[in-house]
């Protein structure tokens, strides 16, 4: 294990979750500000104590808009900032933004670092974000195909997985159904009616083999997460959720992923997360068998299955039978997955709900608490690199 100074997540704050467009007339700055204020209250610190910002998605607010540190300082009255940076690429950096916060804290560049995502889909729908992008020399090799959104793009990976390994839509149905089950008792969840296998197979096909229930929700809202050094963390309101491991990056065989499609087997039908898994486990001196709850980035249900393989919860290619065995269920599963309902059923804040759930599981206060959870995995992506992962654990 590497001798990195210890840091912990100490504050989590969120706005209500809104169906796409329904957060209006608030702005993204207002949504983000409310989340930051709530996270500071949760931590038990004053907003004026924040001195670091660690973003992802190039500081994009839902890709269509940008967040800006100076605007937050002006709006919230933050006196001085000593660190402000963003991971490149998109939602693949959500979990990694906590690693970026750790970098700031370990270097002594900041004391309380906030990671925040706000999104509001008034004009832009992320579901067709690639189809609406301005033409460029690079996307001229993709955009004409009609793969207009991320779900369309990932349907092609999914098809290859089905071809290579015999995976069927029953597996994706089980992921959608089990996550919906986890959302039923959550007051903030946007979807709280069960779905049956019949519902799943009757749903509209959007990009075969993906149907409506394989797609994440279209949400407005904001979430902020505060990270600080372990010594400070121990004086704050809640038990620290220690950063046991954090990693972002990936290999060129995955690269731009489904914006490129140059991947070969077995990377093509994967999540691109295998190198992240290796680094997380190595940092922490643990293996998949030590993880108590897995909060896997679920923009599309098959990518949950491919992450289960890449994180070693089952062998490569065996994700289908693994989930169909009930292994990912909160009730009775061997590795409960997305106990918060995830982006498929609770809300889609570009990966941040997974970090919030990881913190609550480690604090022991999650709505669907995994008894005795000591280690929680949260991931960001799969997407063009960097993708990222985070392991949170109990202090001491």
């Amino acid at each position: 294990m590497t001798a990195v100074a210890e840091v912990a997540v100490v504050g989590i704050g969120a706005t209500p979750y809104y169906k796409r467009g329904e957060s209006y007339p608030q702005t993204t700055t207002e949504l983000a500000g409310n989340a930051i204020i709530a996270a500071c209250e949760d931590a038990g610190i004053d907003v004026e104590q924040l001195d670091g910002f660690a973003y992802y998605a190039g500081a994009g607010a839902g890709y269509g808009e940008q967040m800006d540190t100076a605007v937050f300082m002006e709006t919230l009255g933050i006196p001085e900032v000593t660190f402000s940076a963003a991971l490149t690429s998109g939602g693949g950096g959500s979990a990694g933004s906590i690693g970026l916060a750790r970098a700031a804290l370990v270097a002594g560049d900041a004391t309380y670092v906030v990671s925040v995502m706000a999104l509001q889909q008034l004009q832009h729908r992320l579901g067709t974000v690639f189809g609406a992008a301005p033409v460029s020399p690079l996307n001229s090799f993709l955009q004409p195909s009609g793969l207009v959104g991320p779900g369309h793009l990932m349907s092609v990976l999914t098809r290859r997985h089905m071809h290579l390994y015999g995976t069927t839509r029953d597996a994706f149905a089980e992921i959608a159904i089990s996550q919906r089950q986890n959302a039923l008792n959550r007051p903030k969840a946007l979807k709280r009616t069960p779905i049956t296998k019949d519902d799943y197979f009757a749903a509209r096909m959007i990009a075969e083999p993906l149907c409506l229930f394989d797609f994440c929700l279209e949400t407005d809202g904001a979430i902020a997460v505060i990270t600080t050094t372990i010594d400070r963390a121990r004086d704050l309101r809640h038990p620290p959720a220690k950063v046991v491991a954090a990693a972002h990056g990936g290999r060129k065989e995955w690269g731009r992923a489904f914006a490129w499609y140059g991947m070969q087997d077995p990377d093509f039908a994967s999540s691109g997360h295998a190198p992240i898994a290796e680094r997380l486990y190595r940092q922490a001196g643990i293996g998949p068998e030590d993880i108590d709850v897995a909060l896997l980035y679920d923009h599309f249900s098959p990518m949950v299955l491919m992450q289960l393989e890449d994180y070693g919860f089952c062998k490569k290619g065996e994700g289908g039978p693994f989930v169909e065995s009930g292994a990912i269920r909160y009730d009775g599963g061997t590795i409960p997955v997305n106990t918060h309902g995830g982006q498929l059923s609770e809300a889609y804040i570009i990966g941040m709900t997974h970090i919030v759930e990881a913190v609550e599981q480690i604090r022991g206060c999650a709505v669907n608490q995994v008894a005795g959870a000591e280690l929680a995995l949260a991931t960001g992506g799969p997407a063009a690199l960097p993708v990222s992962g985070l392991v949170l654990g109990r202090d001491r």
Partner: protein
């Protein structure tokens, strides 16, 4: 195969725009001549796609433009209900080639019944005229 079954198509050709840069211009100029090509490194023989300024294996910038042969379906999707094409079916395909390892071309399978599409099927290239007089490589199922 039913003759009345819906056949796959492309985005409305007049709405398809492309943009070139120095590394990609020869690909699109070849398409204008109805040739589908990819760059192969002159120094080490490695293919790359889309065309980029350097060989990722040896950093050489010199390339030969090789005509791609033996296209087959590596993977695909079936897209229905696009807002501006509610009644159309698109079959986006990732295509691999017999003579060009590492090259995956993303395009559309056209004039096919969606139920007939499968990974591994052989294809033949065709071209569709798009905005500004460019020609877009697309594919049909081989006879």
């Amino acid at each position: 195969m039913s003759t009345t079954a819906i056949r796959s198509t492309t985005r409305p050709p007049a709405s398809i725009r492309i943009m070139t840069e120095s590394a990609t211009e020869p690909y699109w100029q070849a398409a204008r001549e109805h040739r589908l090509v990819a760059p192969r490194c002159q120094a080490c023989g490695t293919f790359r796609f889309p065309p980029t300024p350097f060989c990722p294996a040896c950093r050489s910038q010199a390339v030969d433009w090789v005509e791609l042969e033996g296209p087959t379906i590596f993977s695909f999707s079936i897209v229905r209900g696009l807002p501006d094409q509610p009644d159309d079916v698109l079959v986006p395909v990732v295509v691999e080639f017999d003579n060009a390892p590492n090259v995956h071309v993303v395009s559309n399978l056209v004039d096919a019944a969606p139920d007939d599409v499968a990974i591994g099927l052989p294809l033949r290239v065709d071209f569709v005229t798009i905005a500004d007089g460019w020609e877009l490589p697309v594919f049909q199922l081989a006879d």
